[in-house]
Subunit: 208 residues, 2 copies
């Protein structure tokens, strides 16, 4: 009734992701081919390419959606909210979504695969740099000036990375949004420490 | 008297860097070959490879030394210095060195070349991620616990990136160490802003 080319496969995306992750863990990312991923998922190779550009993108396909959540959370926040609170809200929203969608165990497996491959580490760094720029742009859209917008965007991603690392840590039971809050509290604490080094020199430098 | 293979070329590294930068700007990074860089510098191709692994590394050869300055500044700081002051000192040291060695104009040209090429942008992100990890390790060596050490390492690099962007901005006259200080002051200011969003919910979450 329906031609093979247009055949709808139930949860094809999820099956491909699962198959890819299994193969990346068992045989290594480099050794795995798209044909093998499709076969393991019980799908045609062309079905794979309907969802993903290549085997690398299986691990990064959710990134665009998460970036969108970051940006829209910042854009939709009340105008009265301070920039730091706005990005906190955005990071917590992304953290909650990561926990709900694929969960901590998926994140853990993904992290291990990425840690074993320099090309994937680069891709991850690029994703995070893109998020940082998107956050800065969203903040500028709320009237936050430069360089504050870029600084907050960069620092927010730094905070998120550390929270995420703690979240995927086997020994950790706290949820990602809480860990984001913890990291921000920690950031606040260490930046508030009084500068003990050479205050006089700083004052001169600031006046020069 | 001296064989050709071992011939010492005055300032070969600097000449190769200059020639590479000229060609990357004029013809584009992708279009430039190692043979052309060597020819323009008036040196043999094998001399190029004595200094650099490939044409990309010409743009990143100073990174290892700067990382070493970051790490040793942190390691050598007085034990009484707070972590934030320690990394500030390290970033200011790197900033001063960048200004003295190759200067702002070189940094500007390098930045333009990198901005035009995704592969170079990736390499730059990797360099900065490496610096962040090296800073975290140096902080752990001073007894700073995790996740604070990683957080401070990440945030320090975020601060440095923003300061560096401002430094290479045509309109900016301030020196890099000062701009690092400015970015840290700005970080301090925005993290100190009172969280205006849902304080009650946060309190409950912290207690849970």
């Amino acid at each position: 009734m329906i031609s093979d080319v247009g055949r709808w496969e139930p949860n094809a995306r999820g099956r491909l992701e699962q198959a890819a992750m299994d193969l990346y863990e068992q045989r290594g990312y480099e050794q795995t081919t798209v044909a093998e991923i499709a076969r393991r998922a019980g799908l045609a190779e062309r079905t794979f390419f309907r969802y993903f550009a290549d085997k690398r993108e299986v691990l990064f396909s959710g990134g665009g959606e998460l970036e969108q959540v970051l940006v829209s959370t910042v854009a939709d926040a009340p105008a009265s909210l301070a920039p730091i609170d706005t990005v906190t809200r955005a990071l917590e929203a992304v953290g909650a979504l990561l926990g709900q969608r694929r969960g901590r165990e998926y994140a853990r497996r993904r992290q291990r695969v990425i840690a074993a491959n320099p090309e994937l580490q680069e891709r991850e760094l690029i994703k995070l740099a893109t998020w940082s720029r998107a956050l800065a742009e969203a903040l500028r859209g709320r009237g936050v000036a430069e360089p504050a917008a870029s600084l907050i965007g960069e620092v927010a991603i730094a905070v998120f990375r550390v929270a995420f690392e703690r979240w995927v840590d086997e020994g950790n039971r706290r949820e990602l949004p809480e860990l984001v809050g913890d990291s921000l509290d920690e950031l606040r604490a260490f930046t508030a420490e009084v500068r003990s080094g050479a205050p006089a020199a700083r004052a001169v430098s600031a006046a020069g």
